[in-house]
Symmetry: C2
Subunit: 331 residues, 2 copies
């Protein structure tokens, strides 16, 4: 039996600038080695003086590195922290009307200070997670996520581990920092009365004293691996404006010398799997591909798509019957 407890105490009053969050947390929670202390970014930001009498749009612009997607009033942006959040995490709820609260300047640093503070105050080795509320790409509603962390194994990486059948769990890395933040939200609610929570039962995720781990920054996907860095519409507009045929697309698909890349591109354009007859991809050992042959039921249906790809890869294509033959442009 594995068990978890999440407690979110009431009785925390309004948090003001320079409030002692460690003292506040310990006044309502007892903490032991192996506990995870959760704090909403809202009160961390308030304590750090990030509340402003400022127009929301100005605050959002200030926190925004670039716009990821917009639709009507909704603006999803990449923040200074590398987070992807509606309105850059700028919040006008649970604050006096007319003012806004920005995210902490460095939530991982805030978490580290809180962890050190708890250790100094009561000797407990806890992990700290600073939480905020985020929407998701394909699902309605929001879940709380970790925007700051200290002393926590944020990704419970199973790479190399095997299940009871001996299958390697290669791609499994539970984002436990975010699951913990979501669990805390279930106990804290959204009305602002419970800024602190304690999760007990996963001491295995708490790092040794002196090791703060990667922080919540360790959960951010690197731009190079981010397939959704722009909304679908924004990607198209940006590509058009940049004259995509000449650059973006080819770069997007990587080196034009790989039959796998071409199959990828074709599959994407045709929205169907594409079989490259193994014989069809000819390389001169290790040298760039000199020819790729693809079989399509009716190439004539896909002339526009094949043209776009050939342009992107700087390849030419010729179809005879169901056989489509791609070759690199001769310079």
């Amino acid at each position: 039996m594995s068990s978890l407890e999440v407690h979110a105490p009431d009785g925390v009053g309004e948090v003001h600038v320079d409030a002692d969050l460690v003292a506040l947390a310990l006044s309502v929670l007892d903490l032991r080695d192996g506990d995870v202390l959760l704090v909403t970014s809202k009160v961390v930001a308030k304590a750090e003086g990030r509340q402003r009498e400022q127009a929301r749009d100005d605050a959002v612009a200030e926190e925004t590195v670039r716009v990821v997607a917009r639709r009507g009033p909704t603006r999803i942006v990449r923040t200074r922290h590398g987070l992807t959040l509606a309105a850059a995490g700028v919040d006008a709820s649970n604050v006096t009307a007319g003012s806004v609260v920005l995210l902490p300047l460095d939530p991982d640093a805030s978490a580290r200070r809180l962890r050190e503070g708890v250790r100094a105050a009561c000797g407990a080795n806890v992990a700290v997670v600073v939480t905020d509320t985020a929407g998701r790409a394909w699902r309605d509603g929001q879940t709380d996520i970790a925007v700051g962390a200290a002393g926590l194994r944020v990704l419970d990486d199973h790479a190399g581990r095997v299940d009871s059948y001996g299958n390697e769990l290669a791609v499994t890395a539970p984002a436990v920092a975010d699951e913990i933040a979501g669990a805390a939200e279930l106990a804290q609610g959204k009305l602002g009365a419970r800024p602190f929570a304690r999760l007990r039962g996963r001491a295995d995720l708490v790092l040794a004293v002196g090791d703060d781990g990667p922080g919540a920054a360790g959960v951010l996907r690197a731009p190079a691996r981010d397939m959704f860095g722009f909304g679908a519409r924004e990607a198209v507009v940006a590509a058009l404006a940049a004259g995509v045929e000449e650059s973006e697309l080819r770069d997007g698909f990587g080196a034009p010398s790989s039959p796998a890349d071409l199959a990828d591109a074709l599959a994407t354009v045709l929205a169907a799997p594409v079989l490259i007859d193994a014989e069809g991809a000819r390389e001169l050992d290790g040298a760039p591909v000199v020819q790729v042959v693809v079989h399509l039921d009716d190439p004539a249906l896909h002339v526009t798509a094949l043209d776009a790809l050939a342009r992107a890869f700087r390849w030419t294509w010729h179809a005879s019957g169901a056989e489509v033959r791609f070759s690199p442009d001769v310079p």
Copy 2:
């Protein structure tokens, strides 16, 4: 103090076709009114005979409605259920080598059957959540989400509620079904030994007997509101293949009669906020806009972008100094 408990018992053996999941769950968990019973989609699928001796790629193709994004070996797809999952949720872990497990045919129906079964077996009015593991667009690692649900308020919609400062929590709707699934994963782990979990402490989310609620389908974002229905690269390729200037882009930006749409489009293309001088947007009361004036420091820098937009909206544009004047094409 608001408290939650999550228990994930060991001692559940291998689950075979036609296994009685209700009996299995009750053999390791006591359930009361207001509890949430969580079950991994894996064992639900096994009990429903969704394990196959089949090549993984074939199974994925079978479950895929369309490809959302691909990069190398990674294929993120929209499944029959409307879920957006890597490899369509087809899983080769925690199964005998060489076989795969597909998602249940109708996970919400599976959850409803389990809820009814628990009620019949022990009289308890519980909610049931069928969980699976999903990646996220902008964050590394995976969290468990609800792919099936019965008797649960899946979105804890705060619309209309006010915080303690009297601000309306208009856009806040915690996706509690997913937060509950993630909390369960923290107790269950990924090694397959704990397919069941019980969450106690949010009886307020459990619906009355006879009301199964919207199910996990209620958490799926409607395609019309999905800004990330294609990967950035896939969107560009698809748009090119479709000859985007003629259709996609204009449709994407909605009616060309709205100055807000135009500002949106410009801001996206220029990756910068755009000010439409209020005087500049002229409508003949309620009738389509007849003219929009935008101010840019140097319109000459943005000719390509302005052309793309004018094409998309079927507008023409003329710049004099910093003033850019858009007018609808005269048919």
